[in-house]
Symmetry: C3
């Protein structure tokens, strides 16, 4: 799963195409099920996302969405969602955040 632009579907297409260039479906793989590329892609993109919630809404950039990447489909998948207690939320410019974290 990954957080990325969810406004222009071409971004998703570009991500998929680029992943297929980086890790071709057919290659010199040992895993006999024929889906080694999907396993490798899953480890590159990651199996979970961490999302902030404020006032009952996901905190995402203007164009961002949460993308569930299926590299070995179509097949049925299950997604697990956990809500964690958080104490504080701080929003900073990227240039300032180091100072604030360490203050």
């Amino acid at each position: 799963m990954t957080i990325n632009e969810n406004a222009d579907d071409d971004v998703k297409t570009d991500i998929i195409n680029s992943m297929n260039l980086l890790v071709p479906q057919k290659g010199d793989y040992r895993h006999v099920e024929g889906n080694s590329d999907a396993h490798i892609k899953a480890s590159l993109v990651g199996s979970s996302v961490l999302l902030a919630i404020e006032d009952g809404r996901l905190v995402l950039g203007t164009w961002q969405g949460v993308l569930f990447c299926e590299f070995d489909g179509p097949r049925k998948r299950k997604v697990f969602v956990k809500c964690l207690n958080s104490k504080t939320m701080q929003q900073s410019d990227s240039g300032d955040v180091a100072k604030k974290i360490w203050a």
Copy 2:
């Protein structure tokens, strides 16, 4: 660290081989310690995993395990484990999860 199949060891071999194709050990790197590839691989795979626990057990797919990827070994590493309080756990089909999150 990454979550991936832990049943067939060939998956791990394929991941390692593919990472070595993407980021060769020898390359036009500037870092003088000779382990630039390991640094890059670490950022591609990620330094931590987020794991759900229910009823005292890790919630993983049937074949999944947590893989500690050593790209610059063998050497001794330390792993840090934190347990976080969670409120709720929801399990959804990937097709339904968006609706539930936003409901």
Copy 3:
């Protein structure tokens, strides 16, 4: 964002150069804004890091820092920081952690 060595700036240069080799800025992309490579790199590296805090300090390796990777800049970014309640902290050698988690 990623956790990696923050002592030798060459590591950052190597990461950037390697990302540019893997996902060239100019390519056969469909997204018309010209920053498809940045979107893809963002999904490879990931949009957040999970950091442990003990005694008011980030728990990082000796040389590690938190790197904010800008693949489509310079531009202004916002970083969101949340603090989560944690119960316990366990530090283990990588070879022992499986036993402890499952015990």
